[in-house]
């Protein structure tokens, strides 16, 4: 089981810590420091997945987050994550991974038939083929296609991990801890900046982690790295985050980071969050995100065993893994010579280096030549073979005329390719930075335009260790200067390109085969070939954004890391346009996929949303209350006894209030205290009602409109003093009403001397309602005269309830004699208990919102938002009596004079009673005027209104409803029809006040 391709020495791994892991139920061994990819390669495993569309066998191609092929699922059950790049999965003991997109197994996959029939699957195939018949798409095509395609499968169990989030601020955020990033962090720190440095890898260092020979400042690269990290870790001004991907750049230098906290641990300790979302606001951002190696586009360039050249070098240098035994290198760039040379030094046989260029004279090429490596210039690859691993390539010389010469065959088990490097400008582009095309690199480079964001090192085309470090220092100093001021005026301009890092190629390599029969892949993850891109152009697509969508190149989780430039090059050639004129597709966030959990953070379960409860909540809960959600509030809906259902509980609660007395928690009502000499004037302007002559100690039902004349909110208002009003609002309207009032006070009437204070949460409100309510209050209050004469309906008194300072309102939303006791909230629970105790002998009955709703509907009292919507005026619901007729103006008054708002045909509030008293209409049901007959049951009927509230009234012994009906007040006594699936229901229009229309009970 030991790994045959692991070198005996070298690498940043710990050979003494052996780790056992599984891929598709086969066990392997790796060591600490491995990624899943490096451990598989150490075991000689290249084949790790099947491709997205053609189900072709695929192997590990890259060494980092740019890996397009090696997507695996890791874990199981509630800790199952699909689509992880094997190159980013840190190996842990016992890790269980599965390959994806294969059935029944990686070796034998029926979906690979797609590859055999691939001439049938050109670009746009799905769009073109599955068009007819339309109905078949939903039933047949889509389910089948979805079952075959897709990346991995979704987890089936709720995620058992937790996630957390944090906001952070810094002077300089440095993304990428390669040589440029570390240099930038050191420089920024030295200039007094608060620095955050993040890197997606487990170890900071970037390309330094694969530098075995280079020296920096006279030190070995690895020593320089550890010194630098030690300096950064000792600085109180630096926070560095490994395993942390900067996945998106947002306005004003907000950068999203996803930090992976536990995935690298063999068994996550209980309760530790798995990932943390950082929302970093940086004064300055330095992007040192490096560059991505490009593959070359040649026939069958996707076999397992065909890798990026520098990726292979990294496996060797960092993980001490030989990715093969006999290697063919194909390149358009000098960097591949370095890979070949280092592999040769490690004892790997280099069969040949094929350079598509006519000559390579850089220092890496010279070194390779000096080492005696077999170099063939002007040579291409025409074919590769090998079913689950490349076994040979067919190569051919390319003449000066571009003609491909005779082929010869080279046996090999590894092909390394290098088409150049693409600066990783994704984040810069997201920050709305401008890009310019650099001919010498065949790459887009950052070109300013992103305020407070600068790139450093390879991400702006500056290659080579020394140059990258110098550029990082300059960027770090400049960032510090811009963020905190002071420091030196550092130049931060491009450094000339070193000659030995030259070379590039975007076009497919020439070959001698029929272009219609070969697959030369451009986007490996999305299975897009050069042929597909050309086809898209032939079919008339001109914009790169359209070509992207038609072919799917550069889409999805990969966002074109390895494929963008090649696709663009091919499209530009096909369009016969200079590459910069073809443009670039948008770089979308996230740079690499971020879990949903990271975005959700702790917002799950009880922290999903605040749950607001009233002071009596625990009592209600202990007494079996069934709660309903009203916004974020939990309100007791009813209090069932033993086996009562809602219907019976509500009937009992209503009867208690109507016959003796009930108690209700109304604490959620919004409350605003309006204070100041101009308070009454302000009230006059905000409400339809007149307030000037309301005496202190009295209450009034107030209605307020929006400026367009529709009802905004309502509620009882008590005048406590000439300059003090206690306003109540609906539960849901509290915040909106306060905002509405502040708006007018601050912007339109800033000369008024009055001020608003929200007191919703100051007061617990206990409503005691029913004929016996006064008798109960009299036992609890000794400093307020509660008699009908001294305290009539709609009055308010300040005094004490059980010694607690209280505001006692005589108001009623039930139609009965009733009081609402307001006490400071922390006393609410105790006073509630005192009320219950005082009412014990009178069978005081707690009631919930459902009984409250039934009783108010019996009285025809509206609920704003239930019986009204944004179109309903005060007159529509019969509240024009409330309007102060002599007031010159109030919010909404002018709109009421518009012709449409006084049309007699408007919908008006009416009562509806069903012919069958047992029937309860459905809220929201439509109302029509004519009885539908069997012959035109399906004919369209004019809908003249709808049911807004509907309940069974135990008091009246029948179903009652409130409805908005066109011209409703002129229809009293008319029979209307409510069509339902089971047939229409007859209902008669009545006055909306069903009970005690004279209000005798209120005045008791």
């Amino acid at each position: 089981m030991s790994a045959p391709f692991r070198l005996g020495a070298g690498g940043r791994i710990d050979r003494s810590r052996k780790l056992r892991f599984w891929l598709d139920r086969k066990a392997y061994e790796g060591v600490a420091g491995d990624t899943l990819a490096s451990a598989l390669l150490a075991n000689g495993v290249h084949l790790v997945g099947r491709s997205f569309k053609y189900h072709r066998p695929r192997g590990i191609m890259a060494a980092g987050s740019d890996e397009p092929n090696a997507l695996v699922s890791v874990g199981s059950g509630s800790r199952f994550t699909p689509n992880l790049r094997a190159t980013q999965v840190e190996l842990t003991d016992g890790l269980v991974a599965q390959s994806q997109n294969r059935w029944p197994s990686l070796g034998r996959d029926f979906g690979a038939l797609n590859d055999v029939f691939s001439p049938l699957f050109p670009a746009g195939f799905y769009y073109k083929t599955f068009m007819w018949p339309k109905s078949a798409w939903k039933r047949i095509y889509e389910p089948k296609i979805r079952a075959m395609a897709g990346l991995g499968r979704a987890p089936t169990l709720p995620d058992s991990d937790t996630y957390t989030q944090r906001y952070a601020h810094c002077d300089a955020l440095i993304v990428g801890a390669g040589p440029a990033g570390i240099a930038a962090a050191l420089a920024a720190e030295a200039h007094g900046a608060r620095v955050i440095l993040c890197d997606e890898q487990a170890e900071l260092g970037g390309s330094l982690l694969a530098e075995t020979k280079a020296t920096i400042d006279g030190k070995e690269a690895s020593a320089w790295l550890s010194d630098a990290l030690s300096r950064l870790s000792h600085s109180p001004n630096v926070r560095w985050l490994s395993r942390t991907t900067a996945f998106g750049c947002f306005p004003h230098n907000m950068v999203g980071l996803a930090e992976r906290l536990t995935d690298h641990l063999p068994s996550p300790s209980e309760g530790r969050p798995r990932e943390r979302l950082w929302q970093v606001r940086a004064k300055e951002v330095v992007l040192a995100t490096g560059a991505l190696e490009r593959p070359l586009v040649f026939p069958d360039n996707d076999r397992p065993g065909i890798m990026l050249a520098d990726a292979a070098r990294q496996y060797l240098a960092r993980y001490a893994v030989k990715p093969g035994t006999r290697v063919v290198v194909v390149t358009a760039h000098d960097q591949a010579y370095r890979a070949a040379t280092e592999l040769a030094e490690a004892g790997v046989e280099i069969a040949a280096i094929l350079d598509i260029r006519q000559d390579a004279s850089g220092s890496w090429a010279e070194q390779a030549r000096g080492a005696g490596l077999h170099i063939l210039s002007s040579t291409t690859i025409c074919a590769t073979s090998g079913r689950h691993r490349v076994s040979s390539v067919e190569i051919a010389p390319v003449g000066r005329d571009g003609k491909v010469g005779p082929r010869s065959r080279l046996a090999c088990d590894l092909v390394l390719m290098c088409g150049g490097f693409t600066p990783a400008i994704h984040l810069f582009s997201q920050a709305r930075g401008k890009l310019r095309f650099e001919e010498r690199l065949n790459a887009f480079l950052p070109d300013g335009g992103a305020e407070g964001v600068r790139c450093a090192g390879a991400s702006r085309g500056i290659f080579g260790l020394d140059a990258a470090i110098a550029d990082g220092v300059a960027a770090g100093e400049a960032a510090a200067r811009d963020a905190v001021g002071g420091g030196v005026e550092a130049a931060h301009s491009p450094v000339p390109l070193p000659k030995d890092l030259d070379g590039r190629r975007l076009d497919p390599l020439p070959h001698d085969r029929s272009p219609h029969r070969v697959k030369a892949f451009v986007d490996f993850q999305n299975d897009v070939t050069a042929k597909d891109v050309k086809l898209a152009v032939r079919e008339g697509f001109r914009s790169i954004e359209h070509i992207k969508r038609y072919t799917t190149t550069g889409m999805a989780t990969d966002q074109g890391k390895t494929s963008n430039m090649n696709a663009l090059g091919i499209a530009a050639s096909a369009l016969d346009k200079p590459l910069p004129d073809v443009g670039l597709t948008t770089f979308r966030m996230p740079y690499t996929p971020v879990t949903f959990g990271t975005f959700a953070g702790v917002a799950r379960g009880e922290l999903f949303d605040p749950v607001r409860v009233t002071p009596t909540h625990d009592w209600a809960s202990a007494h079996g209350a069934v709660f309903e959600d009203v916004g974020q509030w939990k309100r007791a809906r009813y209090f069932p006894l033993k086996d009562e259902d809602m219907h019976r509980a509500v009937a009992r609660e209503c009867q208690a209030v109507r016959q003796s007395v009930g108690v209700f928690d109304a604490s959620t009502l919004g409350k605003i205290e309006i204070v100041g000499p101009d308070a009454a004037e302000f009230m006059n302007r905000i409400y339809v009602n007149p307030w000037s002559r309301l005496e202190p100690g009295r209450c009034r039902y107030g209605v307020m409109l929006r400026e367009d004349g529709s009802i905004l909110d309502d509620g009882v208002v008590g005048r406590l003093a000439a300059d003090r009003f206690h306003v109540t609002t609906t539960t849901g309207g509290a915040a909106q009403v306060l905002n509405h009032m502040e708006d007018f006070l601050q912007t339109e009437w800033s000369g008024l001397d009055c001020w608003l204070t929200s007191t919703t949460e100051q007061w617990a409100v206990i409503a005691v309602q029913g004929p016996d309510s006064r008798k109960i209050l009299e036992r609890l209050v000794d400093d307020i005269d509660l008699s009908a004469a001294a305290m009539p309906h709609m009055s308010v008194r300040e005094g004490h309830v059980c010694g607690v300072p209280a505001r006692v309102f005589r108001v009623s939303f039930t139609g009965e004699l009733g009081f609402e006791i307001n006490v400071p909230a922390d006393h609410g629970r105790a006073v509630w208990q005192a009320v219950l105790d005082a009412g014990f002998s009178r069978s005081l009955t707690p009631y919930g919102t459902e009984a409250m709703h039934v009783m108010r509907a019996e009285k025809g009292y509206i609920i704003v938002g239930q019986d009204t919507d944004g179109t309903v005026t005060a007159d529509d619901v019969g509240l024009s009596w409330a309007i102060g007729k002599t007031k010159k103006d109030f919010v909404g008054k002018r709109s009421l004079a518009r012709p449409a708002l006084s049309d007699p045909g408007r919908k008006q509030l009416v009562g509806l009673v069903t012919e069958d008293p047992e029937l309860v209409l459905e809220e929201g049901a439509q109302i029509i005027a004519e009885e539908p007959t069997a012959s035109h049951r399906s004919a369209p009927h004019k809908m003249i209104g709808h049911v807004t509230s509907s309940y069974f009234s135990a008091t009246l012994g029948r179903g009652i409803a409130l409805a908005m009906v066109a011209g409703g007040r002129r229809r009293m006594g008319e029979t209307l029809y409510v069509p339902m699936p089971e047939g229409s229901i007859k209902a008669v229009v009545t006055n909306p006040v069903f009970l005690d229309p004279e209000g005798k009970r209120l005045d008791a």
């Binding site: 004490h800 059980c802 909230a825």
Partner: protein, 186 residues
């Protein structure tokens, strides 16, 4: 008739304070709270009567003994005092300010006080508060309404490593649980 005037029952009763290992969270005992709103010309007399000169500078708290005045807006201050003092303060300000117009409302029960202390205080708060809490950006004595994840808070830095929070009563359990979770997740 029972006398319940002494029995204040916090909404956080029974919810505990710090159950994380860091011990950073504590619940503050009941106090008196008043919202003063009025024109700036009244502030001098408030200072004399209340014993603390409310700050004119935005987002600053003024403290004297056990009393504090927190700037919440250009015409709004939160006055804090010992439990039970609200009625007397209302009376004293009425005497001192007459005949000027202003608004003074007792909100002692409207909100709940929490404290986050220790070297992790900033990190705990930044789990849900989007402000820069570095001592240069948010110095001692700074106070402001802001957000803690899905609830509004008043945040006040009372010491280098101590923040006081005022949370609306019905949001307090959420805020406390959120902070407890943030403490566990450090």
């Amino acid at each position: 008739m029972p006398d319940l005037s002494q029995a204040r029952r916090s909404v956080l009763e029974g919810l505990g304070s710090s159950d994380g290992a860091h011990g950073a969270l504590s619940l503050l005992p009941p106090i008196s709270r008043l919202i003063f709103r009025g024109r700036i010309s009244t502030i001098g007399r408030v200072a004399a009567a209340f014993g603390v000169e409310p700050a004119m500078e935005p987002c600053r708290a003024a403290v004297s003994g056990e009393r504090a005045a927190l700037w919440l807006g250009p015409d709004e201050w939160l006055l804090l005092a010992r439990e039970g003092e609200a009625p007397a303060i209302i009376g004293r300000l009425a005497d001192a300010l007459a005949p000027l117009s202003y608004s003074l409302v007792d909100v002692s029960h409207r909100q709940v006080g929490l404290k986050v202390t220790g070297e992790d205080a900033q990190a705990i708060l930044n789990a849900g508060c989007p402000l820069d809490l570095d001592r240069h950006a948010f110095p001692i004595g700074m106070c402001t309404r802001t957000l803690l994840q899905k609830t509004e808070i008043v945040l006040w830095r009372v010491a280098e490593a101590a923040f006081q929070l005022e949370v609306a009563r019905s949001f307090a359990p959420y805020a406390l649980r959120f902070l407890q979770q943030a403490e566990r997740d450090l």
